[in-house]
């Protein structure tokens, strides 16, 4: 019998990395300076590599001749379970950094929890591999938060604007979907509340040092984890999938 719940948990994990990886890839050739252009595309490479490892595992559990390419190329919008923040358009470098920072703080502690505590050996191994890479992502985004937040008047106001817009997307990671509840109960991932506590403390410290303000938010946006997305995901998928949709099974 197929382990559909575990597959769903794996997709929720991998989709976050795939969609953000795709967004960061859009910066290729458009970065503010060469070094950051390269940094963002290197992070994209790490994230897509992580997604690939997780999709391979999901495909093995799924059987039916499915492979890692099935998930990015042939699923419909409602079958993607990434958090909404990650599909948010690049906008400018400030938005890109705030988006990265909010994700990295979650990603870092989530991977740490899985590599230390997961009952599934494969999940542990993938998490341990990516954790090393993500610790550099977090260092990168934290440094830029501080550098631009505590930079010039203009960089500060751009960063604050990005914070004001993106903060309400930053909590969905910690809001438990039915899949999360199941995964915690099954011991695949440790309690999200604890991950939230650690991530939140880290965020506060960096934001304070960056001289930025946490905006007042009446509610937090969510829905991605159950497949309800913003209009932006459709644009990503149409670009990512058009080749496979037009020429099914095309390979290099």
């Amino acid at each position: 019998m197929k382990d559909t719940k575990k597959i769903r948990f794996l997709l929720q994990w991998a989709d976050n990395s795939l969609i953000l990886g795709h967004r960061l890839g859009e910066w290729c050739g458009h970065g503010p300076v060469l070094e950051q252009d390269i940094a963002m595309t290197n992070i994209a490479l790490d994230l897509i590599g992580e997604a690939r490892n997780v999709y391979q595992y999901a495909a093995e559990l799924e059987g039916d001749g499915k492979d890692e390419d099935y998930y990015p190329y042939l699923r419909k919008e409602r079958q993607f379970y990434n958090a909404l923040l990650l599909e948010y358009k690049n906008t400018d470098f400030a938005y890109t950094i705030v988006r990265q920072f909010l994700f990295d703080t979650f990603h870092y502690y989530a991977l740490l929890s899985m590599m230390d505590n997961s009952v599934d050996g494969r999940v542990k191994a993938i998490a341990a591999k990516s954790f090393k890479e993500v610790s550099y992502h977090l260092e990168f985004s934290s440094d830029w938060m501080k550098r631009l937040g505590d930079g010039t008047e203009e960089s500060h106001s751009k960063m604050q604007e990005a914070m004001d817009h993106l903060w309400e997307y930053g909590h969905e990671f910690f809001m438990k979907s039915p899949t999360d509840e199941w995964a915690i109960e099954s011991g695949l991932i440790y309690d999200l509340d604890l991950i939230y506590k650690k991530a939140s403390n880290f965020r506060k410290e960096v934001i304070k040092e960056a001289t930025l303000e946490i905006p007042e938010t009446p509610y937090f946006k969510s829905g991605g984890k159950i497949g309800i997305h913003t209009e932006q995901l459709g644009f990503i998928l149409s670009e990512m999938q058009y080749m496979q949709r037009t020429y099914p099974g095309a390979t290099w």
Binding site: I38, D46, G49, E50, A125, K129, K132, E133, S142
Partner: protein, 163 residues
């Protein structure tokens, strides 16, 4: 010592170089994990350095083309995630070759990574050995390297990050 077929395959594979840092062999990097012979088939097990590293596909091809002239046509290259590759496995010889090539080898043990945040590592210049250097970017020409500049000789250089 009896020279077995596995030994001679190891010997061939030891010469396969990394496509990004061609002075280093996959043996120096600690990527090469295992060689097995099953009938006519050779199974080579390697571990990836970085999950999204495009060099891994290239290395797979290079392993096959190194063995082919020796009559090994049926070669499977297996990528495994366990044990997790770490820069601690880069050999002493590999570190010296890396430095001579202009890349500063990893300065820490991978166990230090958990305390990575908020602490600065001294990364010496591979050319003049000065300890006064500055970080230009967390990511250099590839994901595994960071970009630094020497404050003394002013040369920019790559640092192979601890992993």
């Amino acid at each position: 010592m009896v020279k077995t077929e596995t030994d001679s395959i190891w010997k061939i594979l030891k010469e396969v170089v990394d496509p990004e840092i061609p002075v280093l062999t996959i043996q120096d990097l600690g990527i090469l994990q295992d060689v097995k012979i099953e009938g006519n088939k050779i199974i080579v097990t390697i571990v990836p350095t970085y999950t999204g590293c495009p060099a891994m596909d290239m290395i797979t091809v290079n392993i096959k083309s190194a063995l082919q002239p020796h009559g090994y046509d049926d070669v499977e290259v297996k990528l495994v995630l366990e044990p997790t590759w770490t820069t601690d496995w880069i050999s002493e010889e590999g570190r010296i070759k890396m430095k001579n090539y202009g890349i500063t080898p990893p300065q820490e043990k991978s166990t230090d990574i958990r305390s990575l945040l908020g602490k600065d590592t001294i990364v010496p210049c591979p050319r003049c050995d000065s300890k006064s250097t500055k970080l230009i970017s967390h990511f250099g020409s590839t994901a595994c390297k960071a970009f630094y500049q020497c404050n003394d000789c002013k040369e920019p250089f790559d640092y192979f990050k601890c992993h």
